[in-house]
């Protein structure tokens, strides 16, 4: 049996590919392909982080390796880590972070009026079928859509995702936070007769929060 040119080390969250530095890249790819074909049953549909060891690869080569791995197994590589980050805890963080980001693009619904003192927290995006009254708080790691009046405190992208947005049919929040950016409502009378804003969307850009009427242009700029 010939000497192994590719060794796979794995832990719960990631795999480290130890590669021989003395063979050509083409041969290496072939060996990787074979190695993953034979072990694909072991990994099944796992989602993992990937790290390289034994040989330094440039960006294209890394992508090539990932392509080969994914072609020859049902593994899903969520991210690539640098060599000094090989520790399991780093991989864990990285994988869970990506997983969360993915989750925040999923949504859940809440039906009813959120009243003063009530707090709704969500790991995912959230759609409220009702009003968010003054004094109520919504914290979401994703986006927030309110099919009603938004008058409370809203916190989107709570895990730090600045691409998160907030949309409401009547946008009059006391405070909006998106990731680390905070905006508050203008000072003025607490009660003014029936001023509905119409559907609006709020997003963060360069450390500011912008609120705009929902138009095609604005929606085109939203990243999900």
């Amino acid at each position: 049996m010939k000497q192994q040119t590719v060794v796979i080390k794995s832990n719960k969250y990631g795999i480290t590919l130890v590669m021989d530095r003395n063979i050509s890249f083409e041969n290496l790819l072939k060996d990787i392909a074979e190695r993953f074909r034979t072990t694909s049953d072991f990994f099944q549909d796992a989602r993992m982080a990937l790290a390289f060891e034994g040989r330094s690869l440039n960006r294209e080569e890394q992508l090539e390796v990932i392509r080969v791995i994914q072609e020859n197994s049902s593994l899903e590589i969520l991210c690539v880590l640098e060599q000094d980050e090989l520790k399991e805890s780093f991989m864990k963080q990285a994988v869970e972070g990506r997983q969360r980001e993915r989750d925040s693009n999923n949504g859940r619904f809440y039906k009813g009026t959120l009243r003063s003192g009530q707090v709704l927290e969500s790991e995912t995006s959230i759609i409220i079928l009702g009003d968010v009254n003054p004094g109520a708080t919504i914290v979401s790691k994703g986006n927030v859509v309110v099919l009603g009046s938004l008058k409370g405190i809203i916190y989107a992208g709570a895990a730090g995702n600045e691409d998160s947005f907030v949309a409401a049919l009547n946008m009059a929040p006391m405070q909006i936070r998106i990731a680390d950016v905070i905006a508050r409502s203008a000072d003025g009378p607490l009660y003014t007769k029936g001023n509905m804003t119409g559907p609006m969307i709020a997003y963060a850009e360069n450390g500011n929060i912008y609120m705009e009427a929902i138009t095609k242009d604005v929606i085109n700029d939203i990243r999900i």
Binding site: R115, S116, G117, G130, N133, P134, G135, L190, K193, G194
Partner: protein, 261 residues
Amino acid sequence: MSEVIVITSGKGGVGKTTTTANVGTGLAKLDQKVVLIDTDIGLRNLDVVMGLENRIVYNLVDVVEGNCRIKQALIKDKRYPNLYLLPSAQTRDKTAVNPEQMIKLIDELREEFDYILLDCPAGIEQGFKNAIAAADRALIVTTPEVSAIRDADRIIGLLEANEIKSTDLIVNRIRMDMVESGNMMSMDDVVEILAIDLMGAVPDDESVVISTNQGEPCVGDSSLAGQAYMNICRRVMGEEVPFLDLKIKSGFFGKLKKLFK
């Protein structure tokens, strides 16, 4: 079939006790057997508004602690034979009673009365928890002010969390002249924020102050507030009653004044 109704607001001074006294008296006028329970232990005043303070021997805490029987503590109203009051204690505080004891007490009263009205203390602490423990439904009293509405909103949320599903709104002390000039929220504005059904609106009427000071609820008299309270009582009983026009009708001189404005 008896019904237990808690009258609550969150904020103090919006008219819970006055509403309890008037709705209770009104229901008694409509031939219902009614008991009013003052759950504001330490700050009792429903008995004062009802003009029954001088008759108190035993109170709510005495009943709960077993110092007397319920019958001994119930005060029969001086005007209506089917109206009773269970006064609260003045010398104790809210911790003297717990929700389980309230449920037990009210279950005993259910057998005998058509309506059991609970006058809830302000706040959301022990006293509030005691008052809502046994309630089937709630009347939320608020004035058209942002602070009272904010508290009412919180209270509605807490009632929902405690599975009291039937909550209705009473907007108290509304001044139609201010509503018309745009300086006060209208009933519709309040209902829009709180998103619950309106049971009635009571105008800011000096007859309420006068009747309170005399220990004689104004419900059913000729004043606008008295009519408004009577309508609320009918709606509580499930009748469909159109809403009153709360605009103060200007007399001959008022009309004359308007002409020259």
